[in-house]
Symmetry: C2
Subunit: 258 residues, 2 copies
């Protein structure tokens, strides 16, 4: 338990020095901006980081109950027995106010950290690997372009099949849902207009929900099951190694299409 005037100084110092600041105490929180919220009095943690991210954490959930990123932070004493910590932002205009009635703990830390996360198995990574060789989907499928920006979105992989038809490939790293199908539908329809050529759309995902598959069928699109292994920089896509698998995969695809 500390004097609030001291706490105020500590907060201002930490913010100025861009240290990670941890404050625990009894507080009330109010937000006004993109929406509005109130959080009745209780004990929580306030976490302020170097980049101005401001977060109130309850003792549950991964995400903060109230937050603001890139905030301008200030604090002031109220009536001598309340400490207001305020985060402000504009465009859109937002304000987040935490009123502390008592402080259980406060400390700031300079955290030396040179490394950033290296993530493997992202959709971009999968897409890149896939686009190098599309034969596993069907023989003669030629990649034309990846990350093609069109008016109605960004196409993961653009290809051409043996019959010279345009093929739009949408890659999903997890089970495909209705929105994935809608997405592919948008791209396929736009390309059909642009190229005025026969156009196919293939959804590449580890699995798909029933309703999504039904919608896919309605739209005349195709599903291709994509099994992949993750965990290292050269994550393998099952079926790429064994040529034999192509035939099986092709048959499976035909079967799925029905």
């Amino acid at each position: 338990m500390q004097e609030l005037i001291e706490v105020k100084a500590l907060i201002e110092s930490a913010v100025q020095k861009k240290e990670m600041l941890i404050v625990l105490g009894d507080c009330f929180v109010e937000y006004w901006g993109r929406a509005a919220s109130k959080l009745g009095r209780g004990r929580r943690m306030l976490l302020i980081k170097a980049d101005g991210s401001f977060a109130i954490h309850q003792n549950k959930h991964l995400r903060p109950v109230n937050y603001m990123m890139n905030a301008s932070i200030s604090c002031s004493l109220n009536k001598g027995n309340e400490l207001e910590v305020i985060a402000l932002k504009r465009n859109p205009k937002e304000s987040l106010k935490a009123v502390f009635y008592s402080i259980d703990f406060i400390k700031s830390f300079e955290l030396e950290d040179k490394h950033d996360l290296r993530l493997f198995g992202s959709e971009a990574e999968l897409s890149k690997q896939l686009s190098e060789d599309l034969d596993f989907i069907e023989p003669g499928l030629k990649p034309l372009k990846k990350e093609q920006h069109v008016k109605k979105g960004t196409i993961d992989i653009l290809a051409e099949d043996r019959q010279g038809r345009i093929v739009v490939v949408e890659v999903k790293r997890r089970k495909a849902s209705l929105d994935s199908v809608s997405q592919l539908h948008r791209y396929a329809e736009e390309l059909k207009k642009i190229k005025s050529r026969e156009t196919r759309g293939i959804l590449l995902a580890p699995s798909i929900t029933d309703s999504a598959h039904s919608l896919l069928h309605d739209y005349g699109l195709e599903f291709f099951k994509l099994d992949f292994e993750i965990g290292n920089p050269s994550a393998k896509i099952k079926g790429l190694e064994k040529k034999q698998k192509r035939i099986t995969a092709y048959i499976e695809k035909k079967h799925q299409a029905e």
Copy 2:
């Protein structure tokens, strides 16, 4: 700086007592599960909460760099000079390991907190208010049902216009984008089939992107501007001012009342 054996005991005790646990130190982090990641050695904060949420925070960003929710947490000493804190989960199987080489700070807190966030201005709330009286969109528009579950999603508001046509209304609390249009398109198409009646689709949002508006037009759907920004109402559509004021007033009133 503390002995790692003590730290281990503190962690286990905090987890057992479901206290909020804060650990700062020099660590390396590795994740394996839905994807895979590695984070080279550096100083960060480990935050463990009562519900088993496990988060590694760098001194930037709102979100943790590595995390797991609902984790089973354990720790062990490695070679006497490393402390491994491990979070495990199954379905899907995931593992997150933080190896600490030194500890800058560790403390756990029992946080008494009786209140939950009360949020105003959510889409559900807006939708509820709107559905009570749809005349502001056009005279004679009668609400039939809200939160109607159909195969291809959940329809915000279902209504009937003066000509007896089915009207699907999709409400968005922020600027409508391509996916909002696709969503509405899905619902409208499905209802068209089910009811075998003429069907309209109206997208209700504060604004819409150009490409989304273009797609909306292609699909034969309609856009209706609804600016409900809290504390910043700007009525530009005739006949909408009253309704907007009502909504804004409602939210403000509710906010004040709490």
